[in-house]
């Protein structure tokens, strides 16, 4: 009995062995299937992963290209700067390391920790910059304590040096670490966080040209990221140099002429659109932006009511005031509403319906023809002309000058200004255009807004009698080997189709503005070169109590546009002095200094510059009594009424 049971159990267990063998085979089959899945089906993916695994790429930043003025004078170059970086994988005790760094170097621990956190998620063994622009003393301290600071590296990068200090700061712009936001933008695919890019001005607009091609070293590393060997090394290619059309000497004089006044000035070559001077005042120190901008400096910039960080020449939009009268005059001549001999009588104001539109000169200008209307900037003449023209004909003339849209200068964020039309008002406000609203537009008030670049282009177009050149700032781009990559070609973007005779009439008036007795722009007069120009005052707010009591931000802007020499125009200049009150004094004298510097630079050094003539007109066209069609905000350079 016992024997039988034993045998039965033995047989049973033998049966069980076969079952187990089957189960074991199934399990091994699973292993094989899994291997098939990894090694056959997904082999390519894993192969790619393994390739990426062993290669580390450490970029070597290219030296940015230099920026030169038209004469070859260096405006921006590079100098070495050191930054403190960490390779997180080599650090065992992060907190202790940060503590030690803050003790040794006096750097902010929280800030370093934050940068560290932000830098995570990047490729292993990619150094994270903890502090940029550290001093040479700090570099030495780190080198001395190298053994106590595992994973810490000093990186040398070239940084920007602005030879002219604040000179042309808005134009040149500054560079900074690429932001998270920028990294997601098209065109920035090749950038890594920590890279420096142009943030503003030419640095930003010509980032591609200036940046150069970053080089790098490709290492083979082990799982701990220890470098085993260098596989390949590519040297960075220095960025291309950019030669600007700016003349540093004139630029310097122009900025000096502004002094503390806020405003903008653009001087342009009448014959090709090259911008010779590009001032936005007050400036700032672009070098500060490349490193760690001290908080108090930053706050100072922000709190300054003259808005130093704003590029007023490019994106400031101002009512052109009386400078716009040349457009109205040309429109009148073209539409045969006026001729050279057409005269009106100005008695100090003009009545339309129930409204009274006042001339800046309360006593009136008496009998006024076109030439006198320009010379003395008679408002009544243009009220009457504007009434007959209607807003759309004025706008058509302005559009013929390519006003009301960006002119296509190389910088980003060029504003379009505003030329109001009946259609625009309907669209923008859903209301029809009232006839009375045309009158302020005729004298460059109301909703009319122009940027300083547009003002310069406008006067340049008048000077060359109708040819509109694309204003540009870049003369040529030269690569590191000295080869010219791009030479900016003069580009005609349009022609203002007015009769030559009309231009000549207007120009004659503009000559009188500066040179004839009673002209409003005598401050711009040069003894050796005939200057023609036009003053303008643009109202910031509708009504003012008294002149002396007007707070800064409500004072009128002073404008002056000019060209010279009268016979064969070379240079056009537009000056806006924010809250400068009177075009004739504040803006015209700056224009005078710019022209002076320009013509001085052209000729062999002269012994003595003669001071400008005394001003012979007490007070020019302040259109203080005009009722603007559209109320403007106190800050003109802010967003315009634009749709």
């Amino acid at each position: 009995m016992k024997e039988r049971r034993f045998v039965r159990e033995l047989l049973e267990s033998k049966q069980r062995i076969l079952t187990l063998s089957f189960v074991v085979s199934i399990v091994f089959l699973f292993l094989i299937i899994r291997l098939w899945h990894l090694q056959i089906l997904n082999a390519d993916d894993y192969h790619t992963m393994s390739e990426n695994n062993r290669l580390r790429f450490v970029p070597v930043a290219a030296s940015r290209g230099t920026i030169l003025d038209r004469t070859g004078k260096i405006l921006v170059s590079n100098r070495p700067s050191f930054s403190l970086a960490v390779i997180p994988q080599e650090v065992t005790d992060k907190e202790a390391l940060l503590r030690l760094l803050s003790v040794l170097l006096g750097l902010d621990r929280a800030e370093m920790a934050e940068r560290w956190e932000k830098g995570k998620g990047r490729a292993k063994y990619y150094p994270i910059v903890l502090a940029s622009n550290i001093s040479r003393d700090h570099v030495e301290i780190v080198e001395e304590n190298r053994l106590r600071l595992p994973g810490i590296e000093i990186e040398m990068k070239p940084v920007r040096e602005y030879t002219g200090g604040q000179l042309a700061a808005h134009l040149l712009g500054y560079i900074g670490e690429v932001s998270e936001k920028e990294l997601n933008v098209k065109g920035f695919e090749n950038y890594n966080s920590g890279d420096y890019v142009g943030k503003n001005g030419i640095e930003r607009a010509l980032e591609n040209e200036l940046h150069g091609v970053d080089g790098g070293r490709q290492f083979e590393v082990d799982a701990r990221g220890r470098v085993l060997r260098t596989i390949s090394e590519s040297y960075p290619t220095v960025g291309s140099s950019v030669m600007l059309t700016i003349d540093a000497a004139v630029q310097k004089q122009a900025e000096r002429a502004f002094g503390d006044q806020a405003g903008a000035a653009v001087a342009m070559d009448v014959t090709n659109g090259e911008i010779l001077t590009f001032v936005s005042n007050p400036g700032f120190d672009p070098a500060l932006f490349s490193g760690r901008l001290p908080a108090d400096v930053w706050k100072g910039y922000l709190d300054d009511k003259r808005h130093p960080l704003e590029n007023k020449a490019l994106s400031g939009q101002y009512p052109p005031g009386s400078t716009f009268k040349m457009i109205t005059a040309l429109a009148g001549l073209q539409n045969n509403i006026i001729s050279e001999s057409t005269s009106i009588n100005c008695n100090g104001s003009y009545e339309l319906g129930t409204s009274t539109f006042k001339c800046w000169n309360k006593k009136g200008h008496g009998t006024t023809n076109l030439r006198k209307s320009l010379r003395e900037s008679c408002d009544v003449y243009y009220y009457q002309l504007g009434e007959k023209l209607g807003v759309d004909k004025i706008a058509a003339a302005a559009h013929a000058f390519k006003l009301g849209s960006p002119l296509g200068v190389e910088l980003l964020n060029e504003r379009s200004g505003l030329i109001p039309t009946a259609e625009w008002k309907q669209k923008r406000f859903g209301k029809r255009w009232y006839h009375g609203e045309t009158l302020p537009v005729a004298i460059g008030q109301g909703a009319v807004l122009l940027t300083p670049i547009q003002l310069a282009s406008m006067i340049a177009t008048v000077a060359n009698e109708g040819t509109i050149y694309r204003p540009h700032l870049v003369k040529r781009i030269v690569d590191a080997d000295g080869k010219t990559l791009r030479e900016t070609q003069t580009e005609i973007i349009g022609t203002a189709p007015f009769a030559k005779e009309s231009f000549r009439l207007v120009k004659q008036g503009l000559l009188d503005v500066v040179n004839a007795p009673g002209g409003t722009g005598a401050m711009a007069r040069l003894y050796d070169v005939k200057v023609a120009g036009k003053t303008g005052t643009s109202q910031v707010v509708k009504l003012r109590d008294s002149k002396n009591g007007t707070p800064y931000q409500f004072r009128d802007h002073a404008l002056f546009v000019a060209f010279a020499p009268f016979e064969k125009p070379e240079i056009a200049v537009a000056v806006v002095v924010e809250h400068g009150e009177h075009g004739g004094s504040a803006a015209a004298s700056i224009a005078n200094k710019i022209l002076r510097a320009y013509f001085d630079g052209k000729k062999p050094p002269r012994i003595e510059a003669v001071s400008p003539p005394e001003k012979n007109v007490e007070d020019e066209d302040t259109n203080e009594n005009v009722v603007p069609a559209v109320e403007k905000e106190p800050r003109i350079s802010g967003d315009p009424v634009n749709d």
């Binding site: 049973e12 399990v27 094989i32 990894l38 082999a43």
Partner: protein, 366 residues
């Protein structure tokens, strides 16, 4: 002592399979340790020594009739329990766990030997235990207690890998003996809440992390999940024919963790590809099936139980290690028998092979 008849009965299949795997293993260790800076004897040389030592021990094991183990079993069990306790008290700490015991001239890892001792102990226990129609709940309580004591001590070290293996070997033997359905159902009902308790209270954070990492390797690319990802990359990038001997980038550039020990198969898979893996798996499968075959051919119950136990030990090592390398199981420190570098593993496995040989040779002696 060694009968001439025994020599004629040597199981050459077993010897051949083990020798082949060992040689592949040594070849692979040479490659896996190529990028290492080696001070003293190279790893593959040491592995050859271990293999030779293992073979001698294996020879010694098969020279003694395995039936004497029946008498030694409970004594060895008691001794091992004592050693495990000793480890906890005076053991050498290494890598956050206390596993090694310094015996003066060399260090041993008692938990490793527990794998063998539990086989012998269970074989002895079930040999004297006749059950009808499978084990009842009551009948498995004694073997489970025999298992629970050492398993708990090993887990306390903590050594999750070895503890798991000891448990799996013991359970395999219990299943081989046979359970009643009622027993199975009862234990499933008990195990699930127990597992929850273990998860919540008993497992160390790193152990929980390993399991979580296994379930979701992306959880920590640089933490323990890193091992799984790197290993999968190594295996997958090997493709069909592999990258070539000593040409695996993952291994040669040291992206693999413990690549000469627990992740040795990873290195092999990268360099020899699917073809190489298939060969190795077929060798292992043959070894396991042959072990079961030895159990089947053995005409005494004790021998059959021993053979099943040893085969289960090999089987679980192979499956868990390979499963870990190819991302099917969590990372637990389980070596691949005869293939991973390491003396302890080599000797334990060789002792197991000695036992199998022993049983195989003596199958005609009854």
């Amino acid at each position: 002592m060694i009968d001439r008849r025994l020599i004629t009965n040597i199981d050459w299949v077993l010897v051949g399979l083990v020798a082949t795997v060992c040689l592949l293993g040594i070849l692979n260790i040479y490659s896996a340790t190529a990028p290492y800076k080696i001070i003293g004897t190279a790893y593959y040389i040491k592995q050859i020594y271990w293999m030779l030592v293992g073979m001698i021990i294996s020879l010694l094991v098969c020279s003694l009739d395995y039936h004497i183990l029946e008498d030694l079993s409970y004594w060895s069990y008691a001794l091992l329990l004592f050693l495990l306790l000793a480890v906890l008290v005076v053991g050498r700490r290494s890598m956050g766990a206390t596993r090694w015991l310094n015996l003066g001239f060399f260090t041993i890892q008692p938990s490793e030997f527990m794998k063998l001792v539990i086989i012998v102990t269970f074989a002895r226990f079930f040999n004297n235990f006749q059950s009808v129609n499978g084990l009842t709940v009551k009948e498995v309580l004694i073997p489970l207690s025999l298992l629970a004591l050492p398993a708990a001590l090993i887990m306390k070290q903590p050594d999750l890998g070895t503890a798991t293996l000891v448990i799996l070997i013991a359970l395999s033997m219990i299943i081989y003996v046979g359970l009643r359905w009622s027993t199975i159902v009862t234990f499933v009902c008990i195990t699930i809440p127990m597992a929850w308790i273990a998860w919540a209270f008993l497992l160390r954070p790193y152990q929980i992390n390993r399991i979580l990492d296994f379930l979701n390797p992306e959880r920590s690319r640089l933490g323990s999940g890193y091992h799984i990802i790197q290993s999968k990359i190594a295996v997958g990038s090997g493709g069909f024919i592999g990258k070539g001997y000593i040409k695996g980038t993952q291994s040669q550039l040291r992206f693999l963790p413990e690549q000469h020990t627990d992740f040795a198969f990873s290195v092999f898979a990268e360099e020899w590809g699917f073809i190489g893996c298939l060969l190795l798996i077929v060798l292992y499968l043959s070894l396991v099936l042959w072990g079961l075959n030895i159990a089947r051919r053995c005409n005494d119950r004790f021998g059959g139980l021993l053979a099943v136990g040893v085969t289960a030990m090999l089987f679980w090592h192979i499956v868990i290690n390979m499963g870990m390398v190819i991302g099917l199981f969590p990372v637990v420190g389980v070596p691949l028998p005869f293939f991973s570098y390491g003396g302890t593993s080599m000797i334990t496995s060789m002792v197991g092979i000695g036992l199998l040989q022993n049983i195989s040779m003596r199958r005609f002696m009854f």
